[in-house]
Amino acid sequence: MRAAADAATTFEVPDDLEAINRLYRERRWGDGLPIIPPTAERVERMLCGTPRARHDLVAKIAPGYGAATVERIAVNAVLAGCEPEYLPLLIAATGAVAEPQFNLQGMQATTNPVAVWLVINGPVAQRLGVNATFNCIGQGAWANATIGRAMRLILQNIGGALPGEMDRATHGQPAKYTFCCAENEAANPWEPLHVERGYARGESTVTVVGAEGTMNMNTHAKAGAELARVIAETMVHPPSNEYVHGGEPWLILSTEHADIFKRMGWSKNDVKRELWERSKMRAGRLSAKEMERARASRTEELGSLTADTMLPISTSPDHVYFVVAGGPGTHSVYVPCFGNTRAVTRAVGD
């Protein structure tokens, strides 16, 4: 598709970093951090990262439905500090967030703090240096930081989701600046996420997740059942979109925790089933208003809800997802999702 009418606009500005950043601040074209000026030369260099034509339309981005052309994605990639070789990954991620099941309209305009989490699998992760080990969702890795940041700038600058305007988040969350990591496939005792989601092991993919936050779980549990119990008890929380709508909870399992499950002989599906069963919550724990919302959302799935109904966190164990990532340590992370969203995985092209 071609969208020549949506070509990026150029501005003549003084060649001065502070002045350019001032302009970006005044026009609200940034995320609050200093930007790399997207000069014509830098954008051209960025575009060398893909064989795709600059005016190809990748997606329309809600809620403003701005045209995410390859060129506009490249401009935001420059702003964020990306290298040209990151561009195909950003193009794939932009296509993924626009898939209807991801519900970008809901996510971009909600009061919920939901952020877009990018999970990278396959050879591209290592090639680009996307961190999957120590501090993988923290600071320090150029690829993680700038790819996640570029995604946010695409959502804001092309999608029009400016805080306080179309982005109605009550508080937001730090992950709205950047949230990107790779799966630690070498230390994953099961098949990696992208294989589980239908891709070949040698393919490169990006998975986009509507993440409501991150909750660390530090446990020295050594038995699979006990580990599953404490993780499941963390997942249970009454003011949760997941129990109201039937969500898609995500976990970042540390390699040590994944190994405990594996040593017990549990498959990935066994872990999912165990967490799903153990995280069922008595509906009476919801507030009266949330009970009304859950009835509106889940009666078709679960029948009439009473206070004694045991609500599953998702419609089936298959919708409990986890990636294995992080360095050594007894920490795993619960990533509750927005509720009305389903993650999308896309192959990363050339």
Partner: protein, 69 residues
């Protein structure tokens, strides 16, 4: 709906008015009639909701009549 000759009015709370108007502009319908109710809405008593609904109905009627002119 308006394009199909039907009267259409969007109702939203004050907290979402900016979003509603910005999105209407973005989608090429800057003149979209929007009736605005006070925010928050969920914590109101039945009496308060009735009062809000009454005022909102008047607002909707006014917006529809305006659109018909």
């Amino acid at each position: 709906m308006t394009k199909r000759g039907k009267a259409g009015v969007t109702v939203c709370s004050t907290a979402f008015e900016t979003l509603g108007r910005a999105q209407a502009r973005a989608l090429g319908n800057a003149g979209l009639p929007i009736a605005v109710i006070p925010h928050p809405f969920g914590s109101r008593t039945r009496e308060e909701v009735r009062e809000i609904a009454q005022k909102c109905a008047e607002q909707i009627a006014a917006l529809v009549s305006e659109g018909a002119k």
